[in-house]
Structure formats: C-alpha cells, structure tokens
C-alpha cells in the first residue's frame, strides 16, 4: 500500500477515522479538564469523575492501539530505539493515569533495579503497551498496582502486577494463541496481548526477539503481565 494509491482501502479509511477520533478525544479531554478546574471542589471529586477519567484513558489507549495495529499491518511502524532512564519512563506512564488512581483509591508504585537505570527501547511503542496494561490492571486491581523493572540474563523485564483475581486459567493456557493472533474471542484483552507481543518482537538483539508473558501470583498475588526486552 503506498500513499499515492488513489483507491483507499477499508483499513486506511478506518485508520484515518481513528486518527480523527483520537484528536477529537484529545480536545474533549482537554475541555473537560478545563471545565473541571472551574467547578467547586465537591462537584469535582464525584464518583462519576473516576469513571470519566478511566474511560477517557481506556478509549485513548484503544485508539492508539488501533493505529498501531494498522501501522503494523502496512509495515509503517518505525522502530526508534534509544536509551531511556527507566524511573523517568515509568513515572511518566503512571503520571498519565494519576486521576484514575486517585479516584479509584489505587496505590501505584514502581521498583527499578538501581544497577540498570537505563533501558534500550522505542519509548513511544513501549509506552503504548504499558499504557494499555496499566489500564487493564486498573480494571482488576483492588487497591494496589506495582510495576517492577529487573534484569534477567541481560534482558530487561518490565512487569505490571495487580492485586486482583488474576487472569482466568483458560487465558493463561492459551496465551500463545492470543499472541499469534489466532484467538481474539476475548475482545480487547486478546487484541492487546497480540499488539503487545508484536511490539515486543520488534525489539531484537543478536537474533533474540522481545516477548510478553502473562501469569498469576507475583508480589501482589494478582495478574502479572511481563514484557521481556533483549
């Protein structure tokens, strides 16, 4: 598919629509936060506010993911790897969800192995994966969420832990199917896993590809999503 092709195919139409939707949503979120700032405090912290913030973030995450999937499909997802300070990177992802954490009473923390303060990856792509995961974890977490960064045999491991009920057994068993895009029956989560894994796999070093893994347990006893980057 080249941009000079006059006949637009359906996925391009969808992608440009999604692009517009994303811009609209950005305007909406902005207007909303400005409006909110003018409201008296008791109205500002209503329970609806938490729903609005969460769904805003959820919508935005889905749209970003859709655009990402489109670009993967037409081979237009550029990899721009660079060194990034990990505590900065994770703080930024958590800050983006600050309002939702506050309204849901979730305490979000992170731990970075002090011996490896820098990671090598595409900041935007990995941020979109992490954003979706955090959003997903918020849905199931009871009161805490923990992001850990460690080093496993030279690979960078980013794990998002929650204290919810964990992934259903059937999903854990069949995660290979989701990752390959075979089973999308569980909707956005399945698609999210597929997307995450494709992006992880774009990160390669000496023939080793990045990958994802879901499991239950971890330090918080709930679901654990792990991203391995070589």
């Amino acid at each position: 598919m080249s941009p000079i092709d006059p006949a637009l195919d359906f996925s391009t139409v969808i992608a440009s629509t999604v692009h517009d939707m994303k811009n609209s949503l950005a305007m909406l979120m902005q207007a909303h936060s400005q409006w909110l700032a003018r409201l008296p405090k008791e109205l500002r912290d209503g329970s609806e506010q938490g729903v609005i913030d969460f769904e805003f973030a959820h919508l935005n995450g889905m749209l970003v993911q859709l655009l990402g999937l489109y670009k993967l499909g037409v081979n237009q997802l550029p990899l721009q790897p660079a060194y990034h300070e990990l505590d900065d990177f994770i703080e930024a992802q958590l800050a983006a969800h600050q309002e939702v954490f506050a309204s849901r009473g979730i305490i979000a923390t992170y731990e970075v192995d002090p011996l490896s303060p820098l990671g090598f990856f595409d900041r935007e792509l990995i941020a979109s994966v992490l954003g979706n995961c955090i959003n997903n974890a918020i849905r199931y977490a009871r009161e805490s969420l923990l992001i850990t960064v460690s080093d496993e045999a030279g690979q960078l491991v980013l794990s998002i832990n929650d204290d919810g009920d964990g992934y259903p057994a059937q999903m854990l068993e069949r995660q290979a199917d989701y990752v390959q895009g075979i089973n999308h029956s569980s909707g956005s989560t399945g698609l999210g896993l597929y997307f995450a894994n494709r992006i992880a796999a774009l990160h390669q070093r000496n023939g080793v590809e990045g990958r994802t893994e879901i499991s239950n347990g971890g330090p918080l006893g709930g679901g654990v999503f792990s991203l391995y980057l070589p």
Partner: protein
C-alpha cells in the same frame, strides 16, 4: 536545587484552546513566566528577543505552515536557543513526527496529546534534572568547543558509569567536529556492535563516504536499512553512495522510497528532482520540484533552483506541439517568483528569462525573442560565475533560441572557469564539437597539475611561477586561482603589505565570483579570511 518553576516557558500551538489549557496547567504548577505563540514564525521571532528555558512546541501547526521540526531546525541553526534549553515536541501521534524528524536535530522529548497536569509536571521535572546532569556538556556545546564537550563527557562517565550511554551522541558529534576520523569510526563501530542506533549507522555511513570509502559506506547503509527500514536519513545516505557510483537510476529509486516515508522534506524533493532530470524521468522530476517549491515557501531551504528545475522539467515533458495553457501558467508563476524574489542576482534573472523564453519558443516566438534579448543584455554585464550545470543549460538554451554565438561564448567561459574538471568538459562536449573550446583547457590543466606537484616538494617560488603561467592561459579558472592564492599565502606575512599579498588578494577576488554552492567555496573562505585578516 534548580527547579522548572522559576524558568521561562514558550508554548507554540495554533489552537488557542490548547495554548490556554497548557498555560493554566503551568500556572497551577507554579510557573509564572509563560508566553505563547501561534505560528512557527512568531515563535522564532520571540526566541530571538528572549531566551526561553522551556519550549513546548506543537508539531503540526496547520497545512502550509512551518511544522515543529522546521521550527526546531531554524532555532538550532540560527542559534536562537541554548543547548541548555528544553525543547519538547507536542504531537497528536508521535511516530509520525519521529519519521519526519531529521536525525541531526532531535527534540529533548516528545509529549503526546492528550496529557494531564501530573504527566506534564513529571516530564518537566525529569527534563530539568537531565539538563542539570548534562550541564557541563551542554555549556561546552553552546561555546562551540568540541574538546570541552569530550572532557565533560569523560567527567560525567567517571562520576557515574551508568550514564555513559547518554554521552555517546555528544562524544560522536564532538569527534566529528574535531575531524578525529579514526576515533570516531571506532566509537561508531563499538556502538553498533552493542546496540543498533540509527544515528550511529547514519554517522558511520557519512564518515566512510566523506573519506571516499564508498563501498564500505554502502555496506553500512545496506545493513542499517535492514534494521531501520523506516528511517529516511539512511535512504539519503544510500542515494549519495549510488550517485557516487554513477547509478543515478538506483539513487532515484532510493530517494523515492525515502519520500514515500517522509514527503515533507524540501532538500530531498529537490535532490530527487535533479536526479530524475538526469534520468530523463520528467514526470517524477516535475512532481518532486513542485513539492520542493511549495514546501520550500515556508522553509529555510527555499531555493530558486527548485523553481528553475520545475520549469525545466515541465518544458522537457512537453510535446512537439508546445505546452498546454495550464503548464505555461505554472511555468510562468514559478519563474516570476524567481525573478521577483532575487532582484539583485543577475545569474538568476538571466536564467529565469531564458527558461521562460524556451517555454514560449513554439507558442509565442515574439515574447521569446524579447526575453532572450533582455537576458543577453544582462549576460553581457555579468561578472559572477554560474555553476557549471547552470552555465551549460544557459548555453544550450541560447543555442535553441537561435543565439549560437552567445551560446558558444558561454561554453568558452565555462571551459575556462571549470576546465580542470573532466566531468564538466565531458558535458561541454555534448553541446559542441568546436576543438578550440574542447582543447582550450588542456595546457592550463597540465600546468596546474605540474604546479601542484612542485608545491608539494616545497619549492614555493617555482610553484607560484607555474600557477601564474597556467592562470595566464585561463584567467578565470577557479582551481588555478585558488592554488596560486594558496601558494602565495604560504610563508607570507599577512600583517605587512607585500607584492605576494597583493597578488594573492587579486586572485581571491576573482575566485569570489564563484557560486557559493561550489565544493571549493569553503576553501576559498578559509584563504580569504587569512589573506584579508577578517
């Protein structure tokens, strides 16, 4: 402890809602000094009047307007912001802006819309911290002292080895500026062996190409494009390699690929136009030049050569029956712009008129004659040298317009100015069989080569004599005049007046007539600043 709250901010966005929203976020964070701009032009103006610590620049400022990347490039090249300043590119979608970004000037960070106050605060806090950490390096960059940059990198890595990856780019650029080619190659090789970074590939390719190791440069670009098929700058490097190998068709294909990825690139479009012209692919040439002209309108890379190229491509595309009305209109518009915007450049005035006359040759001979007449008059009084490409096209068009004599004299002067360059002589041979022109440069070129040999032995007196003889044969030859000037300057005290200094300055005055696009222009400037003590 420094903090971003006391710093000055500039928000650049075409949406007033966005400007006021970010402004109020910053206010809530305790920032007092906040200015806004709605266009890139305004931002540049404001930055020339006040030095901002933070610039939050929207990438897309509307169609036909300077985009954020262009603003950044202008700010950097005109030194309107310090390296210590934080430049954040705000985008609706980041990957797009990244593809469009040139590898030389990357923003300090990208911030994707929408973002909230905590997100903004977190980024600003961190960017401030990073700038503080790198402060000695950035200050050395502002002073333009690569040696100090290197020392500052070493000091930082000594302080904390974990930060050494952050210094890699600064180290490489400093080594490049110091012409430390071997050390630079080792550094690039080391980086690539560990982690494939796109800028390291591009830098290594460029270095090898600069040193004439074209085959090795090609291998680097081939390898890099496998890993980063989305990086336009790598295609540019590959195209340079292919041009050097004489494969202009291959170079065109590679550039077309880069343009598919990143169509907003004035220089790339202009280069594609030029290559496509050489390949006689007039359709592609006119399309590329058209893009170069329209995008160039907002850019610092605006170049009348693209207008002339567009007109030339459109004329070449035309049939035996002449050009249709629409094409003539487009040619007229694009050439009028050249004439209007460059009133004091005789070369461009002449070329625009001859180009237009050529386009009217079949449809309006009378106007064509009138324009040719005007061009000839200006040509008569013109001192400046045209580039060989421009001069040869002028000669060809003069021939086509029935001015054989003027065409021949143009070729003669071209052979005199550039006669030592075999490629130029080859192109002249395409336009004439006249042996007096074709052999006119041989004797002078021989003497010039002989002079260089003598100069290398250190015998200045004899070298000058040989160069003088050569220059007598071809008084306007750039290479010979430069060589004579250099040999005269060698061992001459420029602080006291002398015959040598006088003669040298006369040579350089002549050479100064060459176009600044010439590869020898830098050498001329160096000699000039020595000889004139500027």
């Amino acid at each position: 402890m420094s903090s971003y709250h006391q710093k000055s901010f500039l928000i650049v966005d075409d949406f007033s809602d966005f400007r006021s929203s970010v402004r109020s976020m910053l206010r809530e964070l305790g920032v007092k000094d906040v200015d806004t701009a709605d266009t890139g032009e305004q931002a540049l103006k404001m930055c020339s009047q006040k030095s901002y610590d933070f610039i939050l620049q929207d990438f897309h400022l509307g169609d036909g307007k300077k985009n954020g990347q262009q603003v950044l490039e202008d700010l950097m090249s005109e030194k309107l912001i310090s390296h210590e300043a934080v430049f954040v590119m705000v985008t609706a979608e980041t990957s797009q802006a990244m593809v469009l970004s040139a590898l030389e000037h990357e923003p300090d960070a990208y911030l994707t819309k929408p973002f909230n106050r905590s997100g903004l605060a977190q980024r600003l806090e961190r960017l401030e911290q990073r700038k503080t950490l790198l402060k000695p390096i950035l200050q050395a960059l502002d002073r333009g002292k690569p040696v100090e940059v290197l020392n500052a990198c070493i000091a930082l890595c000594k302080q904390d080895i974990r930060y050494s990856p952050l210094c890699l780019r600064y180290r490489a650029d400093a080594l490049r500026d110091m012409n430390q080619n071997e050390a630079l190659e080792r550094l690039y090789d080391g980086i690539i062996a560990d982690r494939p970074l796109p800028w390291a590939f591009a830098g290594l390719g460029k270095l090898l190409f600069k040193r004439g190791q074209v085959t090795q440069a090609k291998e680097v670009y081939e390898k890099a494009l496998k890993v980063f098929p989305m990086m336009p700058a790598l295609y540019d490097g590959m195209a340079d390699v292919l041009v050097a190998e004489g494969d202009s068709k291959g170079a065109q294909r590679v550039l077309e690929e880069a343009i598919r990825l990143s169509p907003l690139a004035v220089r790339r479009q202009a280069l594609l136009g030029k290559l496509a012209m050489a390949n006689e692919d007039f359709e592609t040439a006119s399309r590329a030049y058209r893009q170069a002209v329209s995008q160039g309108a907002q850019s610092r890379f605006k170049d009348p050569e693209s207008n002339l190229g567009l007109a030339h491509a459109l004329i070449s595309k035309g049939s035996d029956r002449g050009l249709d009305t629409r094409t003539r209109l487009e040619i007229n518009t694009t050439l009028s712009a050249v004439a209007k915007e460059n009133p004091s450049d005789p070369g461009l005035q002449i070329r625009a008129r001859l180009m237009k006359a050529t386009s009217l040759l079949l449809n309006d001979a009378e106007t064509a004659d009138k324009l040719t007449e005007q061009a000839l008059m200006r040509l008569d009084g013109m001192e400046q040298f045209m580039s060989p490409e421009a001069a040869l096209l002028v000669a060809k068009q003069l021939q086509m317009l029935g001015q054989a004599e003027a065409g021949t004299s143009m070729l003669k002067s071209c052979a005199e100015i550039y006669g030592d360059d075999p490629a130029v002589m080859k192109d002249i041979a395409k336009l004439t069989d006249d042996p007096t022109i074709l052999s006119s440069s041989n004797a002078a070129a021989d003497l010039n080569r002989q002079g260089v040999r003598v100069y290398k032995t250190g015998n200045l007196v004899e070298a000058r004599e040989v160069f003088r003889k050569a220059l007598k044969l071809q008084p306007k030859n750039i290479s010979i005049a430069l060589n004579l000037a250099q040999s005269l300057l060698h061992g001459t005290d420029t602080s006291v007046p002398s015959a040598e200094l006088e003669e040298c300055r006369a040579c350089l005055k002549l050479v100064g007539l060459m176009p600044d696009t010439d590869a020898r222009f830098a050498r001329y400037q160096k000699l000039k600043s020595k000889a004139f003590g500027e």
